[in-house]
């Protein structure tokens, strides 16, 4: 204790080894009970149809020991770090560093993105991965309009992705329309579905909105699975045509691009074309979002996010504001879906599960909700991290779920937890996003 009784020092942060040991022991005991049956006993359908089981006490012991050790490490780390106090106003030096990074990081990333096909020309894997990351960047930016700007919590975003993908796939395979005709159509159709979802949920807020959008996403997926005559059901749609460069196909034929330019054909050409296509689409999404934020409708979205009642009082038409947010977000989802269909050449309902919605939402929230750069960084982190664990196969989703929990506890406000206000009085002061409230719908 402090020598001065008048001003007692804050409670000591470090506690004895006995405390840590006791805590770890309790954790290990809880783990033992939790895993006793689930890990200790393994069941499987036997050869005669009945169930058989065998024990795995070694695995159980190893896991309990891991929990014991992990608990000690976590406790030590916690004491070493000390209490976490969130700062309301970002301090000056941090702010300066942030603004420097913010000014240069985005252009640097953009230049790097443009150069990826040049640098990694022969590495098909990296190109494919980059296309995947950019698809999620685009989806994240699209959902960001709904969740980050308008504050409407949407757990069924994958529905619009599916609508876009199936619009292109069905129009192209049934009517032979080209990608460039279908792309706007897919966007329009998805936006139409966005409005269709938007109308009923106008009065809902927060969690109710989330669960209704989730149900909507599931309904779309179930209808796709069951409407076999149109969508092919669980077998999906295959043979979706590849995109062309203004009518010139990127294949090995005589009127293909390679033949026209007089260079040797390589399948990499198409990959690079797809890469620049999704990069362009993502940048359009970003540009439109940035421009919209400066228009009255964008300001209305942000006002709606902060306080719906005040919005109404100020005479903002809440109905059109919400519907445009849903429609805009859905439209970008539709574009991304059309791109997904043309890149894969095959789509099935399996690609449009709730997991995808949760992944995109996690990207937006981790990105700091409303921060364009943050969403891009979060997409790179999440999809890249997901790829790193590819070798772990079935453990991958387990680690993904754990990462979501840990990241939420560690940084509930996302990786980039501050944002510059759109409108400010006298001076532009970055505020911690603790001060803004999203998700109230």
């Amino acid at each position: 204790m402090s020598a001065n009784p008048v001003r007692p020092s804050p409670a000591p942060q470090t506690s004895g080894a006995a405390f840590i040991f006791k805590k770890a022991l309790i954790s290990a005991g809880v783990a033992l009970v939790l895993f006793s049956l689930m890990i200790g006993v393994r069941t499987e359908a036997g050869p005669q149809g009945g169930l058989i089981y065998w024990t795995r006490f070694g695995d159980l012991a190893a896991l309990v020991a891991t929990v014991f050790g992990g608990s000690i490490i976590v406790e030590l780390l916690r004491q070493w770090w000390g209490p976490v106090d969130s700062e309301r106003i970002v301090p000056k030096p941090v702010q300066a560093a942030m603004s420097f990074a913010g000014r240069w990081l985005a252009p640097a990333l953009l230049v790097f993105a443009f150069l990826i096909p040049v640098i990694f020309y022969n590495q098909r894997y990296i190109l494919d991965l980059s296309i995947l990351v950019l698809t999620y960047v685009m989806l994240g930016w699209g959902l960001n309009v709904v969740v980050g700007l308008a504050g409407l919590l949407d757990l069924g975003y994958v529905a619009f992705y599916a609508v876009g993908a199936y619009s292109y796939a069905l129009l192209a395979t049934n009517f032979g329309l080209s990608f460039w005709v279908c792309l706007p159509l897919a966007g329009i159709l998805a936006a139409f579905w966005g409005v269709l979802l938007g109308f009923p949920v106008l009065r809902l807020r927060g969690d109710y909105l989330a669960i209704v959008t989730l149900a909507f996403g599931e309904i779309i997926r179930l209808v796709i699975i069951n409407w076999q005559s149109l969508t092919g059901g669980p077998n999906g749609v295959s043979g979706i045509p590849r995109p062309t460069l203004f009518g010139i196909p990127l294949d090995n034929s005589d009127d293909g691009l390679a033949a026209k330019l007089g260079i040797d054909f390589s399948p990499t050409h198409r990959i690079i074309f797809l890469f620049y296509l999704i990069l362009a689409l993502a940048l359009v999404t970003n540009w439109v979002t940035i421009r919209l934020r400066r228009l009255p409708i964008g300001r209305a979205w942000e006002a709606l996010r902060e306080d719906e009642v005040a919005c109404r009082a100020l005479g903002i038409n809440v109905t059109t504001t919400k519907l445009t947010a849903f429609a805009t977000g859905a439209m970008f989802g539709g574009f991304a879906g059309a791109f997904f269909a043309t890149r894969q050449g095959f789509i099935s309902p399996e690609s449009f599960t709730f997991q995808e919605s949760a992944l995109v939402l996690a990207i937006v929230v981790l990105g700091g909700m409303g921060s364009q750069l943050g969403v891009a960084l979060a997409a790179v982190t999440m999809i890249g991290g997901f790829e790193l664990f590819r070798g772990l196969d079935q453990y991958r989703m387990l680690f993904f779920g754990m990462a979501m929990v840990v990241l939420m506890i560690w940084r509930p406000r996302g990786l980039i937890g501050h944002r510059a206000p759109t409108v400010f009085l006298e001076r532009n002061q970055a505020i911690s996003s603790d001060l803004v409230k999203e998700g109230h719908g």
Binding site: L361, Y395, M397, M408
Partner: protein, 305 residues
Amino acid sequence: MDYFAQQLINGLVLGSIYGLIAIGYTMVYGIVGMINFAHGDIFMIGGFIALISFLVLVSFGLTAVPVILLIVLLVSMAITALYGWTIERIAYRPLRHSFRLAPMLSAIGMSFVLTNFSQVSQGARVKPVPPIITGGYTLHEGPAGFAVQLSNIQIVVVLATIVLLALFTWIVSRTRLGRDMRACEQDQTMAALLGVDVDRTISMTFVIGAALAAVAGMMYLLYYGLVDFFMGFVAGIKAFTAAVLGGIGSLPGAMLGGLAIGLIETFWSAYFSVEYKDVAAFSILIVVLIFMPTGLLGRPEVEKV
């Protein structure tokens, strides 16, 4: 008419299972104000633990069915309740005063963890069990050889639900713990000032919800004779639908909503199409929220500025 009566029985049994899960949603939402996305997976874990403990008991040579059922029930309730407690402790408590999206995403992450945990630890294949409770009664012999059946397992499910619901209503309305829960639901700060241990009360809410979900999981196992790692997701959404339909925060409402969803789903499958039964359940969720946002027995939410 016979066909209708049979579907009514089936629907009530299914509805009881949904109702048991829905209680967990409605209590947690009432107290913490969050959708516990992992609750459906708790139900799945409960089913698995019931299955495993059943297998182990049978291999030890126990043959008396009532004894086995009682032990399985207690074991699965206890272990699943510990799952509920641990999840609240790890994933939700640190985020209690955070903004609203954070616990929700944490819950979604936890749901992924539980689903994949049981897939990794118990394998992806469906686990069938032989029927444990057999036999039943023929209530009415129809003219065309169609008979209305009431099986013993259906009686057990409905009886267990009624007993648990009565016990639970008693806990909430008559005991110290129930009073604490209701106090926390109204105003956590005020409850804490008056000496209610808020952390402990919230933990107990999760524990009770998980225990009821374990009962639902065991009933599901007995009734359908199988469990798989993915059954929690759809059952969870439907039970949440039931909670919303009955009015979130209301216990009798959750049970009523569960019965309604069970009946609707059964009748839809019987008279329209089996493929679209989930679509029907989800559509009802949307329609209810639009026209009756407070549900059947819920209180209207006062909008505070």
